[in-house]
Amino acid sequence: MKSVLVSVAISGILIGNAFWFVSARPNTDDTNVGVPTAVIIDGKQVIDISAKGGYSPRRVLAKAGVPTILRVSTRGTFDCSASLVIPKLSYQKFLQPSGTEDIIIAPEQAQGTLQGLCSMGMYNFQIIFQ
């Protein structure tokens, strides 16, 4: 019985660590300090995301209600991040292993938080319109 308790305790600690390690922690810091902001070129907002073994940056701040282009670039990307899904836009596309993909986001869609993820859900990124 003692060994069972010890094993449960060890497992508990390990599981706790694992969760801390991989949890998405979306809104733990509300300040958004150090989060990159999208640039506006010729009245159009451009958000650059690179996809390879995950998405980078994982969080981008952007202006709400502005015509926006989400530019996803791949470079020898064969993993899940090439299979991009944006549930809110009903967008799904399999990106070429190397190249860039422009996704148009209409001003009325550029609201709130836009979540993008790979089709298996392992990797994700957020665009926060404010």
């Binding site: 390690f21 399999f94 298996m120």
Partner: protein, 321 residues
């Protein structure tokens, strides 16, 4: 035969025998008599058929002790898997052209990447369950033959038709959910703590798991091979990327070879999972192995569930690797 003989005993209401586990399960009104005495009496009934009955050791108390090892071991393995995801293995893929060598390396990486959660998890749950039910190496081999052969033919078709065979978003989510459900049931079965899932297993994925697991017994050559072919459609980013490349080749043979080489790259890890399970199933510490496998499979099933829900936009992603 043994069943009907036992049913003839007045106080027995139900009898179910299993050749596989050399056991017979009887239900009935035994009063307060001790189990060994009942077993002896029933042995008398079966003697002329050459059987004797003995009471199974109180297996469940013994098995719970297995968790003392299985729990930490499985947690360490899961933690190792998560660390591996964080390690950025994908940065090893530097070229954007796919030579056959590159396809093999991509296969190797895919087999320890996020695809392991779904493809590896399914292989582990099916093969450990199969090994537990007395399946042989033939069942396992047929799965791998089906997988590699399926990748050859389907890869060729993708190249020839210039149309990728990956599924749409909804189908992907549904398939991910189904695979997670099958894994969850098989995983709980492997744990062998709840008896209700035993019944669930017969009703729910009847066509799939039952046939696959008992493949060797009933000489179902087809079922394990079909599941192997089916892995082509599992939501695995790498498989889909390779399909996209196979498609761009525009030729049957190039598409077929690319996908086959990729499948061969994933083979070592998957073979280790399936033939390893089979091997361990005959070791004295198999109880610990089945429990460990069960915990891992259940954890991966839950991960796949949450991922499928996140992809559907129903919940926010819980993980970010």
């Amino acid at each position: 035969m043994t069943e009907s003989e036992l049913m003839n005993v007045p106080y027995i209401t139900r009898a179910k025998s299993s050749l596989n586990t050399h056991s017979v399960e009887v239900t009935g009104d035994f009063g307060d008599r001790p189990e060994p005495e009942i077993a002896e009496e029933l042995s008398g009934v079966l003697k002329r058929h050459g059987y004797t009955l003995s009471v199974e050791k109180n297996a469940h108390i013994v098995e719970l002790a297995d968790f003392a090892y299985a729990l930490p071991v499985s947690v360490v393995i899961i933690l190792g898997f998560l660390l591996l995801q964080k390690a950025g293995l994908t940065s090893f893929i530097t070229s954007s052209d796919v030579s056959y060598g590159a396809a093999f390396v991509i296969g190797l990486i895919a087999s320890v990447s996020s695809c392991l959660a779904i493809v590896g998890g399914l292989v582990l749950s099916l093969s450990a369950s199969s090994a537990k039910e007395g399946g042989t190496w033939r069942t396992q081999s047929l799965f791998h033959v089906g997988r590699i052969g399926g990748f050859f033919i389907l890869g060729g078709l993708v190249g020839l038709l210039g149309n990728s065979l990956h599924l749409g978003l909804t189908a992907n989510v549904v398939l991910g959910g189904i695979v997670a459900l099958v894994m969850l049931i098989l995983g709980i079965n492997l744990l062998d703590v709840f008896h209700f899932t035993k019944r669930l297993q017969f009703t729910l994925p009847v066509g799939l798991s039952r046939h696959v697991m008992n493949g060797s017994k009933h000489d179902h050559y087809l079922a394990p091979a079909l599941v192997g072919i089916g892995t082509f459609f599992l939501p695995c980013g790498f498989t889909q990327s390779m399909q996209l490349y196979a498609l761009s080749t525009g030729s049957f043979i190039q598409g077929a070879l690319t996908m086959t080489v990729f499948a061969l790259g994933t083979f070592p890890v998957l073979a280790l999972l399936s033939f390893g399970s089979l091997n361990i199933a005959h070791k004295p510490w198999k109880g610990i192995f089945f429990k460990t496998a069960g915990i891992i499979v259940v954890a991966l099933a839950l991960l796949n569930f949450s991922n499928a829900l996140a992809t559907a936009g129903i919940i926010n992603p819980l993980f970010n690797f």
